[in-house]
């Protein structure tokens, strides 16, 4: 949300600056002088774009709930056409090390395949598997494990 404000402000500053350098501030008052009222519908303010989607045990498929998060990521990335991303695939601590590396790779590549299907260039997406090596929740119960079975879209500076 901050970023969009900043960018609008930026546009304003740029337009003001361009006004100054060309026709000057009188242009601005002219648009109000004729007494008409111009009404423009605003875009909704942006919701927080999630970085992380969560998977069921052993699963790597993308369901509709995950899609809405990924769609927002894709939309953002299309607007910000230069930024590349890395998708990290993670697993919970259950299971053996190599299998979890394979499962993490399935998760990150599954996210990548969806994003590419939504029109994002494959060259902008890197993938990595961390398997069970990078847990965020540390208890050995399902409430933690479900937070660790995840794919995280990492972008320099973060979304929003």
């Amino acid at each position: 949300m901050y970023k969009s404000r900043i960018s609008l402000l930026g546009l304003l500053i740029i337009s003001l600056a361009s006004c100054k350098s060309t026709t000057g501030p009188t242009n601005y008052s002219q648009t109000l002088d004729d007494g008409s009222i111009k009404i423009t519908q605003l875009e909704d303010n942006k919701t927080q774009i999630g970085e992380t989607i969560y998977f069921g045990v052993d699963e790597s498929g993308i369901n509709s709930e995950m899609m809405s998060v990924l769609d927002a990521q894709v939309a953002y990335l299309k607007e910000n056409g230069r930024q590349n991303i890395t998708i990290e695939g993670h697993t919970d601590e259950q299971g053996t090390r190599e299998y979890n590396l394979g499962l993490g790779a399935k998760r990150s590549n599954s996210v990548k395949a969806y994003m590419v299907s939504q029109g994002l260039s494959t060259s902008r997406i890197d993938v990595v598997t961390y398997g069970k090596e990078r847990p965020v929740s540390l208890c050995s119960e399902e409430k933690c494990w479900k937070e660790n079975r995840r794919a995280v879209t990492v972008i320099a500076g973060g979304f929003n």
Binding site: E98, Y99, N109, T129, R134, C139
Partner: protein, 444 residues
């Protein structure tokens, strides 16, 4: 007194029959079984060595402790306390008074002489005696070595005793490579580390800046393969243990992990991830040329060669859950060998070829188990909330693995267990957590 010892270790299909007393014809068999709780270790007398020029008694004591620990840690031997000894060895080549040792119930006696040969060299002469049948147990031996190498020499003497008494191959003079872990669970620092089989001489091989996983010894014990995140992706590296040189495999794409040497040391097997799919490849270490062995869309990983190099066992979830499969080393003729309840993973083919160790997950527990290559004779050896990653001793008698505790402070430690299921014990790894052990071959 006619007496002999025959130990039947924990039923199953493996038995140690000590060679002690086999010279006797008319023997009374004393059978013990670990599972029955009446197993009696073999009593060994270890009187002080004779000390010749330059060797002090502290050196001898240190040497003895290494040797004793090797033998006692097997669970097969028990040292008789020195205070019980009726005589001492005053001359290395003098005849042994068998009655002095049989009276204190010794079955085996070691006699030895240590001598310093130069400021940096020493030698040990030793003989092993079967007190039960009143015979030498094989010829005496002399080992000459650098003083700095004394621990290895002590392991070699213990190996001779173990080998001659049990008939099993030696394994004490060997090393382990493993992952030393420190720090909290969500910020674990992991380093590849090397140590002697008994936990001594820990040496770090990587600096802890990057995640490292599953090191594997080469058959000649001179190099290791391991996985590191140094490049940002999991990638397989080879490290020469003498020079410290690390080699990358540029011909291999993307994410690679789970490396394992071929028995001839010329190739490795590993997993390569391509999009959603993880398959097993065979790669020439000299040329980097790769051959794809599995083509299924499943996660195919954790490959392990049979000792003759003709077969490969691996895990795959192609039938929905992780199971073990065997194929020819060119990838043909894939057969599933596990059909029990639960999941099977991380197979490791015994250096004897007779068994495959694995990690099994069932009903929320983790086990280390063994199975014959034809899929019969499955036996579960351990049970805990997390036992994983078995590796074999050079003689195929002992399995090392790691056990991880649960919860926020959960952490791994390395354990050992006999292939019979007896003698579970924890490795000492100092102040470090330890996981992913790989046992070397017997050193030369």
């Amino acid at each position: 007194m006619l007496r002999s010892l025959k130990f039947t270790l924990a039923s199953f299909f493996l038995t140690i029959v000590p060679n002690v007393g086999l010279a006797q014809d008319n023997i009374i068999t004393l059978e013990g079984s670990v599972s029955g709780g009446i197993f009696e270790p073999i009593k060994i007398a270890l009187p002080d060595f004779i000390l010749s020029s330059g060797i002090d008694s502290n050196f001898m004591t240190d040497f003895m402790v290494v040797l004793e620990n090797d033998l006692e840690n097997t669970g097969l031997f028990k040292k008789i306390n020195k205070s019980a000894y009726l005589s001492k060895i005053s001359e290395f080549d003098a005849p042994v008074q068998y009655s002095d040792w049989s009276l204190i119930n010794a079955s085996v006696l070691l006699t030895g002489e240590l001598e310093q040969k130069s400021p940096i060299d020493f030698e040990i002469k030793f003989r092993i005696w079967d007190i039960v049948s009143q015979n030498k147990l094989g010829k005496g031996l002399k080992f000459e070595a650098k003083i700095s190498n004394w621990r290895r020499v002590a392991h070699k003497v213990a190996d001779e005793i173990y080998n001659r008494v049990t008939g099993e191959g030696p394994y004490f003079d060997s090393k382990l490579v493993f992952v030393a872990e420190s720090g909290p669970k969500n910020k674990r620092v992991k380093r590849i580390a090397l140590m002697d089989q008994d936990g001594a001489n820990v040496k770090f091989l990587t600096d802890g800046k990057h995640i490292v996983l599953k090191p594997m010894f080469s058959p000649d014990s001179k190099s290791i393969l391991f996985t590191s995140y140094r490049s940002g992706l999991p990638r397989v590296y080879r490290k020469d243990l003498n020079s410290g040189t690390e080699t990358t495999f540029r011909t291999l794409p993307g994410m690679t992990f789970s490396p394992r040497y071929s028995p001839d040391g010329q190739h490795m097997l590993l997993s390569i991830t391509d999009k959603m799919n993880t398959d097993i490849y065979k790669v020439s270490l000299a040329s980097g040329k790769k051959t794809r062995l599995t083509k299924d869309r499943a996660i195919d990983t954790a490959p392990s060669f049979s000792p003759n190099g003709r077969k490969v066992v691996f895990e795959s979830d192609r039938s929905l859950t992780q199971q073990l499969y065997i194929m020819n080393s060119n990838g043909s003729d894939i057969k599933r060998i596990t059909f029990g309840k639960g999941r099977y993973a991380e197979p490791a083919w015994s250096p004897r070829g007779d068994l495959i160790a694995f990690t099994k997950m069932v009903d929320g527990f983790f086990h280390i188990g063994v199975i014959k290559p034809d899929g019969t004779g499955e036996k579960i050896l351990t049970k805990s909330s997390k036992d994983q990653a078995p590796t074999w001793s050079p003689n195929g008698r002992v399995i090392m693995f790691y056990r991880e505790t649960l919860g926020r402070r959960g952490a791994p430690s390395i354990y050992m267990i006999d292939v019979t299921g007896a003698n579970l014990r924890k490795m000492r790894t100092g102040s470090y957590f330890a996981s992913d052990p790989s046992w070397s071959a017997l050193l030369n």
